[in-house]
């Protein structure tokens, strides 16, 4: 591995037309990684309503508006249940969740691929395993749509 190779400045995204499978894999991996860390910060912010809920903070909501609340009419609900239910009741949030799953699945599969490459397994089939990651991501995402969108159109 002492041999070096001038790959040019690959960080120059303007060269996207010349990208090979490995370069696309790298770009996608970056993109999905950044999405996931962005999501994690948002996620903890939303889940933080549990602190209020633990201290007995409640709000009044219409039970019909929230998929996770039973009954009808104006109901008193803890702030965590109301926040999560309010988000899950929105079609756009469900759609974003499908997107998040796709992003996470690709990052996991491609990440596993990178780990294997690092261990020296299957070096000859790198581009094939990248396409396999893409296709598998597509299949898993499509297969999960019914579960994710249940109650908001499915």
């Amino acid at each position: 591995m002492s041999q070096s190779y001038n790959r040019g400045l690959i960080e120059d995204y303007g060269r996207w037309k010349e990208f090979s499978a490995g370069m696309w894999a790298w770009i996608f991996h970056k993109f999905t990684g950044w999405m996931l860390i962005g999501y994690l910060f948002t996620h903890i912010a939303v889940l933080s309503t549990a602190i209020g809920a633990a201290q007995g903070e409640t709000v009044e909501v219409f039970a019909e508006d929230l998929p996770n609340v039973e009954g009808t009419g104006l109901t008193e609900v803890d702030i965590y249940t109301a926040t999560l239910g309010g988000l899950e009741g929105l079609f756009i949030v469900r759609l974003l969740e499908v997107g998040l799953l796709a992003v996470a699945v690709f990052h996991i599969l491609n990440g596993l691929r990178l780990l294997m490459i690092d261990l020296g397994i299957g070096l000859e089939a790198q581009d094939k395993s990248f396409y396999a990651s893409l296709i598998l991501t597509g299949i898993i995402t499509v297969a999960s749509v019914p579960t994710f969108l249940k109650g908001v159109g499915f």
Binding site: W26, T147, F148, K150
Partner: protein, 121 residues
Amino acid sequence: MAERYSSFAPGGTAWLLQRITAAFLVVVLAFHFFQLHFVNHAAEVTFMGTRARMENVGYFLTMVLFLIAGTFHGVNGVYNALVNQGLSGTPKKVVLAVLTIASVALIVQGIWVALAMAGMI
């Protein structure tokens, strides 16, 4: 090695930790999605449900480890990507400081949240 696209200098500590946390994340992230979409539907999550899960010590510890590994992996990834893009000198130190503070804040907040969920505070 003809082509190698990575944001990390191979063999370094950051590189190694990125891979170790990645191996752990594969398991927990898959578990997390499975748990909150197929076992318990995301749309049916309530405070009582979360509390019931978080009261289990194993689940609680898994979530806290997930939080720490995910934060480290994500932020270390961002930092290395920036260094790889040519970040150096003072901006590099500032970025490292900001990212470190953000990570610590996220982990502290996350643990506080986890304790509240489990009913321990």
